[in-house]
């Protein structure tokens, strides 16, 4: 059948050559294999999952962007905005837009109208998942077709961070949103290097090069983003040559096997998703600091990294991830000391062991981790019972405050404030009206977190963030486990065109500099 097919292709190509007078360049198609059953949403203000974020990174721009391959808030560069000015109090920001940027799929030039519409949309809780990022915004206004002014109620820790090509900062085209309505979810329109072409539910999304891209036409003509949920099927499809860029299994064995193929490049990059084991300090027996400390002493972080693999995982340094603006890279974490753990348990009255219950997802990467932790805790007499439920149930139940221990893996905008607020500020405690993801019910660092938020002096700000981390670590609101890096692999014929160290979209950026030989 393979022969028949290649013969057919040959005949067709020959015909095309004859008709086109030899002026035909083979279309370069990048086939991507993604670990998901289907698209969630292409609407950048609604994307909840890694599979959605990765593809959106190829379709949209922000006012500003992280330099491709990086995620350092200090290296943010112009994107749709050519330049910007700030008032002395840093509460008014004026952005000057690049002229002549075209919306994809024929929706006309992108102007300040689109930018204002897009940012207001991202700030609207009814249509956006990221509205809380815009809490400090007072107004967003178009001064003329190419000027946008943003007024703030108070200065957020990183305004430019919010306006990058990430989550709510992605700029959508107003006319397309209005015209497509509900269909925007599957046919989203931005200004990025690749434009939506086709969506086949449960199968794939096809993007085509945006020939009018303001940084130049992409050299890759087409991207087919295939949904292949099974790790094994995806691996096999890569082996058989059906895909060129593959979302990896986040473990050592996988990375090693891929590395052994001479024509494969394994991409391991940031951000690290930090797995924290959040301990609910209001529930017995975790209300006893000694029990929490025992857990902290019993967890062997080095072994976790060893299991996950040094190629793809790294040790946690604090209760918030590595490399964020404000992370304490040497937070006073409890060392691995099972004897100390046993003593503490005995002192707390649990010499004969203690049982702790956790609701856990069936998602293999998270479940595996928890199973190792379970084995580690068992050695000191802590029986961690896992009630395993499917992923949606897991998310629903932990938010109803039903689990004593919640393991949660997350990466956020790389500024300490975001992570600290969402996970450890009393405002964010689950079950409250302003709940986000504070599962530990800790609130003892509220003053420091709030203080750092509004501090104008950056040294003072970092000092407060460090203090907040010290308090939370010492009180064992959470036990950090390890950081999972993003793992992808691609054939060496694909060249991204930049050095990939990190990508907030959790996938490699494919843009106008990328080539496929």
């Amino acid at each position: 059948m393979r022969y028949i097919r290649s013969m057919t292709v040959g005949v067709l190509t020959l015909g095309a050559l004859l008709l086109g007078g030899g002026n035909v360049r083979a279309e370069s198609v990048l086939n991507v294999g993604m670990a998901a059953a289907d698209l969630g949403s292409l609407d950048p203000h609604r994307t909840a999952t890694t599979p959605d974020k990765a593809i959106i990174g190829w379709m949209f721009n922000g006012l500003v962007r992280f330099k491709p391959g990086t995620m350092n808030p200090e290296s943010i560069e112009p994107d749709l905005a050519e330049s910007w000015d700030t008032s002395p109090d840093q509460l008014t920001w004026t952005f000057h837009l690049r002229k002549g940027v075209q919306c994809n799929n024929g929706y006309g030039e992108l102007t300040s109208d689109d930018v204002v519409f897009s940012l207001k949309r991202a700030a609207d809780p009814k249509v956006s998942s990221f509205s809380s990022d815009f809490a400090d915004f007072a107004s967003i206004e178009a001064m003329d077709a190419y000027t946008v002014t943003i007024k703030l109620k108070q200065r957020p820790p990183s305004l430019l961070g919010i306006l990058t090509n990430y989550q709510g900062g992605n700029i959508v085209c107003k006319k397309a949103v209005e015209k497509l309505g509900d269909d925007f979810r599957t046919k989203a329109v931005g200004t990025g290097p690749f434009a939506f072409a086709e969506y086949t539910p449960n199968q794939s999304i096809t993007l085509v090069a945006n020939k009018n891209y303001f940084r130049g036409a992409p050299k890759i003509d087409k991207i087919v983003y295939r949904y292949i949920p099974s790790d094994a099927t995806r691996d096999l499809a890569y082996t058989s040559g059906e895909i060129d860029l593959i979302y990896g299994r986040q473990d050592q064995v996988w990375a090693e096997r891929m590395k052994s193929d001479p024509h494969t490049v394994v991409d391991v990059f940031g951000p690290g998703e930090l797995s924290d084991m959040n301990l609910d300090i209001t529930k017995k027996p975790l209300d006893d600091l000694r029990v929490r400390q025992a857990i902290a002493y019993a967890v062997n972080r080095a072994e976790l990294v060893k299991f996950k693999g040094a190629l793809t995982a790294r040790e946690a340094v604090s209760i918030i991830p590595h490399d964020y603006l404000g992370t304490d890279e040497h937070a006073p974490l409890y060392p691995y000391d099972p004897e100390k753990a046993k003593q503490l348990l005995a002192a707390a009255g649990f010499a004969n062991g203690v049982t702790i219950k956790a609701i856990q997802t069936t998602l293999p990467s998270m479940l595996n981790t928890m199973q190792i932790v379970q084995a580690q805790l068992k050695k000191v007499g802590i029986d961690l019972q896992l009630e395993v439920v499917d992923h949606p149930t897991f998310h629903a139940q932990i938010r109803k405050d039903l689990s004593q221990v919640v393991m949660y893996a997350a990466a956020r905008l790389p500024v300490a404030d975001v992570y600290l607020t969402q996970f450890y500020h009393s405002r964010s405690i689950v079950g409250t009206p302003t709940a986000v993801t504070n599962f530990s019910h800790c609130g003892m660092a509220d003053a420091e977190i709030d203080g750092a938020r509004t501090a104008t002096d950056s040294a003072k700000q970092k000092e407060l963030w460090k203090k907040a981390q010290d308090i939370l670590v010492e009180q064992v609101c959470a036990v950090p486990l390890y950081e999972q890096l993003q793992v992808w692999a691609h054939r060496d014929k694909l060249d991204y065109g930049y050095k990939l160290d990190a990508s907030l979209t959790l996938g490699p950026i494919v843009n106008e500099t990328s080539t496929l030989k």
Partner: protein, 289 residues
């Protein structure tokens, strides 16, 4: 005067025995099933290691003297996990089929015996249950209620009840008109006693055949759900879950998927042979030849 004995009562059980003795296939199948059941029951004593004990250094290791079938991706002993996995299969399948037999049998006999509107309503409800394919029902129940042994049993029982109810109902309809039942009634025996003592033995034959086939279905369903990722919660060893894990690691260590696949294949084969043999001996049309 005594009520005429239920003529087939002893016949059914005796034939079960003769079937096994005379029918080579049935006895071979029965042998396999018994062996599998024994190894599952005695798994705690037979297995060389703790099925949950992890050893990071032995991840995906091939067979060795200490671990005859090798280690899985957590470094756990595959042989021990297969033995323990058999317990889950055995437990889920026997429990769900037994409940289905008791419940389905009771429903069928009751519906057939009482008749009328009650019969129609009950059998309509059975039709609704029959409209769910077993695996789809399993997916629905387990995904929604959680992957526990109890929910698995619930899901399989729900689909298995209706066929057993139908089997039990049909002969009840004919038997209840017979003389000895009338006689029993005339003697003032309670309906319950008549149903249990006189109707049950007459339907047990078909139920046994059906049971052996449903055991296979139950094992397959349990394994399929685990394979899809909705089986009994990890780290519990199940065959389907092991095959799933093996498939995910197929390029690194194919043995991981092969051993549990063989286990499931052998047991299913045994059950199907047993069911076939029993059917051959209880199906009068085939028996006469």
């Amino acid at each position: 005067m005594t009520v005429a004995p239920a003529t087939r009562e002893t016949g059914a059980l005796a034939r079960f025995g003769t079937a096994l003795r005379r029918h080579k296939m049935a006895s071979l199948g029965g042998g396999i099933v018994v062996l599998a059941a024994l190894s599952a029951i005695f798994a705690p004593w037979l297995s060389p290691h703790d099925p949950l004990e992890q050893d990071v250094l032995l991840r995906l290791a091939g067979p060795s003297a200490d671990f005859p079938l090798g280690n899985d991706s957590f470094g756990r002993d595959i042989l021990s996990r297969i033995l323990w996995g058999g317990r889950v299969s055995l437990y889920v399948s026997t429990a769900s089929v037994l409940i289905a037999i008791v419940l389905g049998g009771a429903i069928g006999i009751l519906a057939g015996y009482v008749g009328g509107l009650f019969d129609r309503i009950v059998m309509a409800a059975m039709d609704v249950l029959l409209s769910f394919p077993t695996l789809v029902m399993g997916l629905l129940v387990v995904a929604m209620l959680g992957p526990t042994v109890g929910n698995l049993i619930l899901a399989i029982t729900l689909t298995a009840v209706a066929p057993f109810a139908r089997i039990a109902r049909a002969p009840t309809l004919t038997i209840k008109e017979r003389d000895f039942i009338e006689a029993g009634r005339a003697l003032g025996f309670s309906n319950l006693r008549i149903m249990i003592v006189h109707i049950l033995p007459n339907v047990i034959d078909e139920i046994l055949v059906m049971a052996s086939l449903w055991l296979a279905t139950a094992i397959r369903t349990e394994a399929s759900l685990s394979f899809i990722g909705l089986g009994v919660r990890p780290p519990t060893a199940t065959w389907g879950g092991m095959i799933r894990e093996g498939f995910e690691n197929i390029l690194d260590q194919p043995l991981l998927a092969i051993f549990p696949s063989i286990a499931i294949l052998v047991v299913m084969f045994g059950l199907n042979m047993l069911g076939d043999g029993l059917r051959d001996t209880s199906d009068p049309r085939l028996r006469h030849e």
